[in-house]
């Protein structure tokens, strides 16, 4: 009995000690309380809000809207595909005014909830209902446009004449980047009569290198190393956290190999690899989500599909950061010209993964 009490005492002391250690500055999320009754809600897909990829980026935009408008936040993370209908129903029951769903896997659950609850506004990232629904706003991104710039930049910067790319899983939000990248390289070859090769993706045949998931960093590193061994000196990993392994491989080359990151500015989201990042291809999910949520608060919501483009800033090439001095001014001018030409329609991108124009 004595032992028992002593054990209990030790446990409680430990609990206290641990709890005390766990104290860190709490961020007070209440920016304003203007719309405390307004519940904005978000459902993640099975990647979770901490996936360092589209769930996380969308969530950041969501939080920005919450803060700016002083809304009440309700979020539900999904652990598996089984959770989507449950989470969606829970959000409806929680009397959300706007519900943001992240990812194409939530399409069915979103469409069902939206049809049953015409008063609730919905937005869905990276997907669109088969037939437009009056209260579902699709948020799509034509990242092929900025990836095209990325491909051109890579082709202009390579010394070996070979650039490489690999994806996580062969799905349109991934291959769209690889398509744009390959087309950008081809455009460079045409303009400059060069022959820079793209390893890891054949956009005509739609075949290439994939790690098979978005989580395994070791696989990303192997795949990146594979490309480097074949002679690529610039790699373009499109595989979320798994792609970080590719950056690791580039960093291990001691300056011989560099990379271009995707989704967010890599110098911000993965700052430890900034020294090898020439640039990043941004996908403005945060801005799109923020705008969608804000529009509901301001009574300006419409269900017209949003397509992020170079023109509206929904996709863009991030700053060069440490490579600012290394990228020739000529190339920078050409990139700007490409942007203008894509916007004006002078350059057309062939990728079939592009969202249909609204």
């Amino acid at each position: 009995m004595k032992k028992y009490v002593r054990g209990l005492a030790i446990v409680s002391v430990l609990t206290l000690a641990v709890a005390a250690c766990g104290s860190k500055p709490t961020d007070n999320a209440s920016g304003g309380s203007a719309n405390k009754d307004f519940k904005a809600c978000m459902v993640s897909d099975s990647g979770g809000f901490d996936d360092k990829s589209f769930n996380q980026t969308s969530y950041e935009g969501f939080q920005a809207a919450i803060k700016a408008k002083g809304l009440t936040e309700v979020k539900a993370e999904s652990k598996s595909d089984n959770d989507y209908p449950t989470n969606m129903t829970a959000m409806v029951n929680a009397k959300c005014k706007v519900i943001v769903a992240v990812g194409f896997k939530l399409e069915d659950a979103t469409d069902k909830a939206a049809t049953a609850n015409p008063d609730i506004k919905f937005a869905i990232v990276d997907s669109a209902p088969a037939k437009p629904i009056a209260n579902v706003k699709p948020l799509l991104f034509n990242t092929a446009q900025a990836a095209f710039q990325g491909g051109y930049l890579a082709a202009a910067m390579t010394k070996t004449g070979k650039v490489g790319t690999f994806g996580g899983i062969k799905i349109p939000p991934v291959t769209i980047y690889m398509d744009g990248f390959a087309e950008g390289v081809r455009y460079y070859n045409k303009q400059k009569s060069k022959n820079v090769q793209v390893l890891g993706w054949d956009d005509a045949k739609q075949t290439g290198l994939f790690t098979g998931d978005f989580e395994d960093k070791a696989k990303g590193q192997n795949t990146g190393q594979n490309l480097i061994t074949q002679g690529a000196d610039i790699i373009f990993p499109v595989a979320g956290p798994s792609g970080l392994g590719g950056l690791q491989a580039a960093k291990a080359s001691n300056g011989k190999v560099n990379a271009i990151w995707v989704d967010t500015d890599g110098c911000v989201s993965a700052a430890e690899y900034c020294s090898v990042l020439i640039s990043s291809v941004n996908k403005g999910m945060d801005v799109a989500v923020q705008d969608a949520v804000t529009s509901v608060v301001d009574n300006k919501y419409d269900s017209k599909q949003f397509v992020g483009t170079l023109e509206n800033g929904g996709t863009s090439l991030a700053p060069f950061h440490e490579f600012d001095g290394k990228v020739p001014a000529e190339v920078k001018t050409e990139l700007d010209q490409i942007k203008a030409d894509i916007i004006s329609g002078k350059i057309t991108i062939a990728s079939k993964a592009q969202p249909a124009a609204s």
Binding site: M1, Y4, G7, T15, V18, A19, A20, G22, S23, K24, T26, S46, G48, V74, K75, A76, E77, S78, K79, S80, D81, N82, D83, P85, T86, N87, A90, A94, F104, K105, E107, D108, K112, S127, A130, I169, K170, I171, P172, G212, K352, A353
Partner: protein, 401 residues
């Protein structure tokens, strides 16, 4: 009842501070007590995590010296609210209960697939792969064929069973014929299954018309398990219970089952006794695969879920923990499946109400199994628990099989 001598009446057995080494309790009761204690311990661990993660507690700790009671009240309310929401989401009403049962359904079938293999001395890590193949075939029959009600569902379910049985049977066959270790083979076949699924989803046969995403059409209404009222609970749950009854009958009442258990207990002795060990391995894996395939059908035919690369979620792996917690018995597996299903359903509610991360339920599940797998650890905390006789042998067998 055993013949052990005990001076106390039976109901007085779980009295603290007695430290009996042996008791008159039957082994199932002891196992139940250990499992129950493991759950209690897991909830304590979970409570600590909740307290550490809670913002209000953190705030209160910063002025702990000034008002120590604030920290405790914040901690108590954080834990209390989280567990209250967990309980409400799991068993607080008709909808939560049906939700728990829905979540439990594939876990029970998957757990049975692992349990049955356990009892035959095989460690079936491949429930995930078997489930995926079952889901692929069931979904394909479900959306590509168009048949009258009843018939369509039956054929889709059979397709799922066959798919799982093939994937499991291959393992049994390899084990029986070549001695290939089932752990290695099942793990590898899991990869084959998931990559096969990913590839299939890029083909026009499986892709939903009008979509470029890797997602299949939803199966025809005729091929879906009928649902109970407006809940998500479907007939697949009854099938899971039937499957459990079948496994019980197979193991305890049939000649084949006797051979399976004999091989599981001692393969060499069984061989000497004239049983075909290879046949037992093959049959066990075949049936286990079919059970996992049944779980696959529950995923695609039960809850409106289309075929995606996440169709199996982590059911096949959770099934292993369910089987461990269920001690390899059909009844235990059903109970463990129900518990895990309830934790899953309650976790969603807990996340919603108190913003406690979903991963907490995963931690709870893991810790429960950890404690169950280490009864000595549980007994060191709860001294009153009697020792089990010959427990844990079933679970420890698998790797050496």
């Amino acid at each position: 009842m055993s013949t052990d001598t005990t001076t106390e009446p039976e109901k007085a057995a779980p009295v603290p501070a007695k430290e009996p080494q042996r008791s008159g309790l039957p082994s199932w009761a002891i196992q139940g007590l250990v499992s129950l204690s493991a759950i209690v311990l897991a909830l304590v661990v979970g409570a600590i995590l909740i307290i550490i993660g809670d913002d209000q507690v953190k705030a209160a700790v910063s002025y702990f010296g000034a008002a120590p009671m604030d920290t405790f009240s914040a901690a108590f309310s954080a834990v209390g609210e989280a567990y209250k929401a967990l309980a409400a989401g799991a068993i607080g009403g008709v909808t939560p209960i049906t939700e728990s049962l829905t979540q439990a359904t594939p876990l029970i079938c998957g757990g049975l697939a692992v349990s049955l293999a356990f009892r035959t001395g095989l460690f079936n890590i491949g429930a995930q792969g078997q489930l995926i193949i079952g889901a692929i075939l069931a979904a394909w029959v479900g959306f590509a064929w168009h048949l009258p009600p009843g018939l369509h569902l039956i054929l889709a379910v059979i397709a799922g069973l066959v798919g799982g049985a093939i994937w499991g049977g291959v393992v049994g066959l390899l084990k029986a014929r070549t001695g290939a270790h089932e752990v290695i083979v099942t793990i590898m076949l899991n990869y084959v299954a998931i990559y096969l699924l990913q590839w299939l989803l890029t083909t026009t046969t499986f892709k939903r018309p009008g979509r470029t995403d890797p997602i299949s059409p939803i199966v025809d209404a005729n091929a879906q398990y009928p649902q109970f009222g407006s809940t998500r609970l479907h007939v697949g749950f009854l099938l899971a219970l039937l499957a459990a009854a079948f496994v019980w009958w197979l193991l305890n009442r049939s000649t084949v089952g006797f051979e399976l258990r004999a091989v599981g207990a001692n393969a060499d002795a069984s061989r000497t006794a004239g049983m075909s060990v290879g046949k037992a391995y093959f049959i066990a894996m075949l049936v286990a695969g079919a059970l996992a395939g049944l779980a696959g059908t529950q995923q695609v035919l039960g809850t409106d879920l289309p075929l995606t690369d996440g169709v199996a979620a982590s059911v096949g792996f959770d099934a292993i923990t369910v089987a461990l917690l269920g001690r390899g018995t059909p009844l235990g597996t059903v109970l463990a499946g129900l518990l895990f299903g309830a934790l899953n359903a309650g976790g969603l509610q807990m996340q919603l109400e108190t913003q406690t991360p979903l991963t907490l339920t995963t931690v709870l599940q893991a810790v429960i199994v950890l404690f169950v797998a280490a009864p000595a650890l549980v007994r060191s905390v709860f001294r009153f628990l009697p020792k089990e006789r010959g427990a844990g042998t079933v679970l420890a067998k698998g790797w050496n099989g």
